[in-house]
């Protein structure tokens, strides 16, 4: 074996790293660990793009997330100056350089090699497996990684089973040894009757009939509940052999002593300081004086975060308040507004103001229909939620509590962030959450939220450490009265969950206490028998709080067995009731361990059955909207592509209703991915159109440009639908094609990036968010595009500011430009003056120049020529000092225009010179504006040839810089000039494209619209009203 500087990497089981025999702590981030495993297992070099797709499909900057993870891995892998992680700008590679990797160390790399391998080597190979491949490293939200991992697990499990069966065979003369291997085989694939039969035969041979009978019963139960079948020939033969053996009869075992204390009822000790802090926050809320902080209880799993959050909820309720609690689940990270839907379901309906019901419908009452979501709808939804919370908090304190923030969905974070911004003054609303310290960075939106709050000094973090010895002893004694709890305190190291479980074991008479939390919980999970034991994998696979009705659709049990099974699991503290017919695991660790015990093939079977049950419920119109996202998950894990695609279409539609467009797009892409593996047929065609519909409607306007193949795919899908006589689907397809064509060519790709930047800014701190939203809005109006978006962003920026007055130059600047665009110059000028004052106060010279230039422009446009000239005079020396940033040629041009309109001498020559300077300066947008004003002036003076040249040059410059409104102005001017010259045809040639969009909301500025109206009048063309087609 190579020394490898002592670096050893194990993947066959839990991912483990060790250096010279000492375990190396892995990064807490699951995605970072997954990256490590993927690089090591696959070897070779990978493009960064592929790694980003694998694990960071969601974040705005996946490459940054990858870089961050690589920085965490480098010190682990590149120890002792041995370079193992090779990276450049495009690719990442892992080279072992002598590292000892179990996959490479395995003496039997393939099934075909087993026959020729010695027993010793087979034993060594079996010992390499300490569990399933990358045990516990599940990332349900990263479906590409998940698919890779599932395939690897199946591959390695098959090899392991083959090795174990060979070993059972080789050790047939030594059944004690063979039994160990046979038991491992059962654990890997409990649905394999041959494995059970082998265990039964070996137990019988060893004279252990009681255990053999139990094994038979367990196998029979599993086959009945999961496959709906009875034992087959092999098992029956093994059992018959058992019955004919002359061993003593099986006696009923003495019932185990049972505990009635569950985790949920556990006492709260050792958290006096934290409770005092939470009490103070609750009291402040009751006195309408709660701070504006985001309260975060953080710590390791099992440290007591949820228990403290529950304490806080009780404190609020004790003060007459309302605690709205939502719990995020790892399996539901793609369920938009998941925690909010759960939280708001707790608000009594009669307390919801009638005026808010319509706006809140998507979250509280479940919307129907398929609205095309716009940016403004989302803001209205958020405002309605905040208004509801305000209304409720006027009566009593309100606590918004999120458990397990590390698994929250992106849309919920967005709304949470909005609420935090809205409640930024002392009041009766408290927002609190729990989070696993190490895993929060895996959830990009949640991580941004926490960091943003910390940057603003609005984060009250209550980190939970281990309990001290006294508290730990008190907790253990409360759970195991009259027992010596010293060993519990010694082993648990202050972890409350570990203490509770150890004490539970102690109280039940166990003498040997397991040394690790995992071993203890595993032992705990191994105790249930019969129906309760059979139920565990199903409950764990559901992945969240589960509904008994749904579980009953999947597992065949008689009503009395159901009651017994649930009662036993609850009594043992494994699950707890959380509502009528609803249960959850007492702790997420128990759920993940119970799931870990289920073999890969069996998981696939269980998830497949759950997916079919959910699909049946949906077809029968039972179950809520959340069923759709459940269907996606279970069908994908169960390998049922058609059901997964159906779930994606349903869940995508639901996301559209909630204005969660990013989630909708993600679901559509996911659905299409599943569909690509489905055979052609009517259902495939129908689902393809449904998924493309979600994609198009969620990607309205510029976002469509991110998917250049969409038009092609949709055209193809429509043709297929027509060929299959699916008329409704074809009609939907044609409607979507019209949406796509409408979008074509309207705006530049830059706008998309602008909008993405604005979306990202929503997660930044308030000041940055306002600045970025206003900056983006200002740019959009200056770039003459997307006014509606700009307006929404300004509304959002203003809402973020709350009652604080803005000191954002860009906000006033953008508002002024918007007023000018609307033709309200009287309103625009004071706003621009405000922006100018702020720029001066902040010593921002460039913005001072820009604001002065705009003021000069606006004054000129509203006929205040003297005021405009005064601005220019003020601006000129400043611009001269600024060098090129001062944009002196534009200042000269503005001055010349003012002087021209004032009829001052030599103004025309000055303008000519200024235009030449602007051309040399290569400032085309300014040039277009100046030439349009000059053309208008020349036209009014009857100098048509001069006007024509200026307007034509203006049009070229405007189109080169994609200034839509300025180009429309040029065209309208050209139309007027041609009309005056009697050339109607040339006039219509320029005017018609302008009139074609004149009735579209926000398509043209007031100036361009007025100019087009004049041209239409001159050419005697009617101006289209909305919905009227131009003849």
């Amino acid at each position: 074996m190579v020394d490898g500087n002592g670096l050893r990497i194990d993947l066959l089981g839990e991912l483990r790293l060790s250096m010279r025999g000492r375990p190396v702590a892995l990064p807490p981030s699951k995605k970072t660990r997954a990256l490590l495993a993927y690089l090591v297992a696959t070897g070779g070099s990978h493009p960064r793009e592929r790694l980003c797709d694998l694990l960071w499909d969601g974040p705005d900057d996946p490459r940054a997330a990858l870089r961050w993870s690589l920085t965490k891995l480098r010190p682990l892998l590149d120890a002792d100056d041995t370079l193992r992680l090779l990276t450049d700008r495009e690719r990442v590679a892992f080279v072992p350089n002598g590292a000892d990797i179990d996959l490479q160390r395995l003496p039997v790399p393939r099934v075909n090699d087993i026959v020729s391998t010695t027993t010793d080597k087979l034993e060594a190979a079996a010992a390499c497996f300490s569990g399933e491949f990358l045990e516990g490293l599940d990332l349900p939200s990263c479906f590409r990684f998940h698919e890779w991992c599932a395939a690897e697990r199946e591959k390695w499990s098959s090899l392991r089973v083959a090795i174990l069966t060979a070993l059972v065979d080789r050790w047939s003369e030594t059944p004690e040894i063979a039994l160990g291997h046979a038991r491992s085989w059962v654990n890997i694939d409990p649905l394999d009757e041959r494995a059970h039969a082998t265990v039964i035969r070996l137990l019988a041979t060893l004279g252990r009939p009681r255990e053999a009978t139990r094994q038979y019963e367990y196998c029979r139960q599993v086959l009945e509940t999961e496959l709906g079948t009875k034992p087959g020939v092999e098992l029956a033969r093994a059992f018959a052999l058992l019955k004919t053996s002359n061993h003593r009869r099986v006696h009923k075992e003495r019932p185990e002593r049972r505990l009635s204390i569950s985790v949920s009822e556990a006492v709260l000790v050792g958290r006096e300081r934290e409770c005092t802090a939470l009490d103070a926050i609750a009291m402040d809320a009751a006195g309408a004086n709660a701070g504006m902080d985001f309260v975060l209880l953080s710590g390791d799993p099992g440290i007591g975060k949820t228990r403290l959050l529950r304490y806080f909820a009780q404190a609020i309720a004790g003060l007459g308040g309302l605690a709205l609690e939502g719990r995020a689940f790892e399996a539901e990270i793609r369920r938009p507004y998941g925690i909010w839907v759960d939280m708001l379901a707790r608000v009594p309906e009669h307390t919801i103001p009638l005026t808010l019901r319509e706006e809140l419908r998507p979250l509280i009452f479940g919307a129907d229909g398929s609205p095309t979501a716009k940016e403004g709808d989302r803001v209205r939804l958020y405002s309605a939620v905040v208004a509801l919370l305000r209304a409720l908090s006027a009566q009593a304190p309100i606590a918004i509590l999120t458990d397990d923030l590390q698994w929250i969905d992106e849309a919920s974070v967005s709304l949470l962030h909005y609420a935090l911004r809205a409640f930024d003054m002392p009041g009766s609303v408290v927002i609190a959450a729990t989070a696993r310290s190490g895993e929060i960075s895996d959830n990009d939106p949640a991580w941004h939220l926490v960091r943003g709050m910390a940057r603003e000094g609005r984060l009250t973090e209550i980190p939970l450490g281990p309990l001290d010895t006294l508290a730990c002893t008190a907790l253990a004694r409360a759970m195991a009265p009259g027992r010596d709890v010293t060993p519990v305190v010694a082993v648990s190291e202050g972890n409350p969950l570990f203490t509770l479980e150890l004490s539970r074991a102690l109280a039940s008479g166990s003498n040997a206490l397991p040394g690790t939390m995992k071993a203890l919980l595993m032992e705990h999970l191994s105790r249930p028998e019969g129906a309760a034991r059979a139920l565990l994998p199903w409950a764990a696979a559901l992945g969240r709080a589960f509904d008994v009705d749904l579980l009953a659709r999947c597992v065949r049990l008689s009503p009395s067995k159901w009651d017994d099974a649930l009662e036993e699991l609850e009594r043992r503290g494994i699950i707890r009731g959380i509502g009528e017919n609803r249960y959850d695991f007492s702790h997420d660790l128990l759920r993940s361990l119970a799931y870990g015990l289920v073999s890969q093939p069996r998981r696939r079977l269980i998830h497949g059955q759950i997916a079919r049950s959910i699909a049946a419920a949906l077809e029968a119109h039972e179950g809520g909207a959340e069923f759709a996202s459940e269907l996606v998950r279970h069908a994908a894990l169960g390998g049922n592509d058609i059901l997964a695609a159906r779930g994606c279409a349903l869940a995508g539609d639901n996301s559209l209703r909630l204005f969660a467009n990013e989630e909708a797009i993600d679901l559509a892409l996911r659905g299409l991915h599943h569909l690509s593996r489905v055979k052609s047929g009517p259902e495939r065609t129908s689902l393809r159109i449904a998924l493309l519909r979600v994609h198009v409607l969620a990607s309205s306007e510029n976002r469509l440009r991110r998917w250049p193949r969409l038009l092609h795919d949709l055209t193809e899908a429509v043709a297929t639908a027509e060929a299959a006589s699916l008329s409704a689907e074809a009609a939907t397809g044609y409607y979507l094609l019209s949406v796509l064509h409408q979008d074509e060519g309207e705006t530049a790709e830059s706008v998309e990036t602008t909008l993405r930047a604005a979306a990202a800014s929503r997660r930044a701190d308030a000041a940055t968010a306002v600045a970025q939203l206003a900056n983006t809005a200002r740019c959009l109006v200056e770039l003459e595009t997307n006014v509606d978006r700009a307006r929404t962003m300004l509304t959002e920026a203003t809402a973020l500011l709350g009652r604080r007055r803005a000191d954002s130059i860009e906000l006033y600047w953008a508002e002024a430009l918007l007023k000018r665009w609307e033709g309200q110059l009287d309103g625009a000028v004071p706003l621009m003056e405000e922006a100018l004052q702020l720029a001066r106060a902040q010593g921002d010279r460039w913005r001072e120049c820009k604001c002065l230039a705009w003021l000069a422009t606006m004054n000129l446009e509203c006929g205040e020529r003297e005021a405009s000239l005064a601005c220019c005079e003020e601006l000129r020396p400043l611009a001269e000092r600024m060098g090129e940033s001062g944009e002196l040629p534009f200042v000269h041009a503005l001055e010349a225009l003012c002087r021209l309109t004032l009829g001052l001498p030599a103004a025309e020559m000055e303008l000519e010179s200024a235009v030449a300077q602007l051309q040399a300066f290569d400032s085309k947008a300014h040039l277009a504006y100046v030439l349009n004003v000059a053309a208008e002036r020349a036209f009014q003076s009857g100098r048509f040839a001069e006007a024509l040249k200026a307007a034509r040059d203006a049009l070229v410059a405007a189109e080169a810089t994609r200034r839509v409104w300025e180009a429309a102005t040029s065209r309208a001017l050209l139309a007027q000039i041609f009309a005056a010259q009697g050339d109607r045809s040339a006039g219509r040639h320029h005017l018609d494209p302008v009139l074609a969009c004149i009735d579209e909301q926000d398509a043209l500025s007031a100036r361009a619209r007025a100019m087009a109206s004049r041209a239409a009048k001159d050419l005697d063309v009617p101006i289209p009203t909305p919905n009227q087609t131009l003849s």
Binding site: S750, A757, E884, E887, D922, S923, K924, H926, T961, R962
Partner: protein, 84 residues
Amino acid sequence: MARIIVERTFDPPISQEAMDATSQRVGNCLDLYGVRWVGSHVSTDRRRMVCVYEAADAQSVRDVQNTAEAPFDRVWPADIMTPN
């Protein structure tokens, strides 16, 4: 799209950190104004820099520089000459 050149000088010489920070700020603004960064040359003494962009006009590049607070001396449109 035209080729646009940006000239910059630094006294004292620009540090790597400052260069990275400026590059990051400029990068954030490029798409906003429809500008593409082609490449840059920095003198070995870190006192001069020439950056090459593609944009509709020079003013778009100036707007990027100003919005990103990246100091510059001159911005001008250029023709490309290649060896025969």
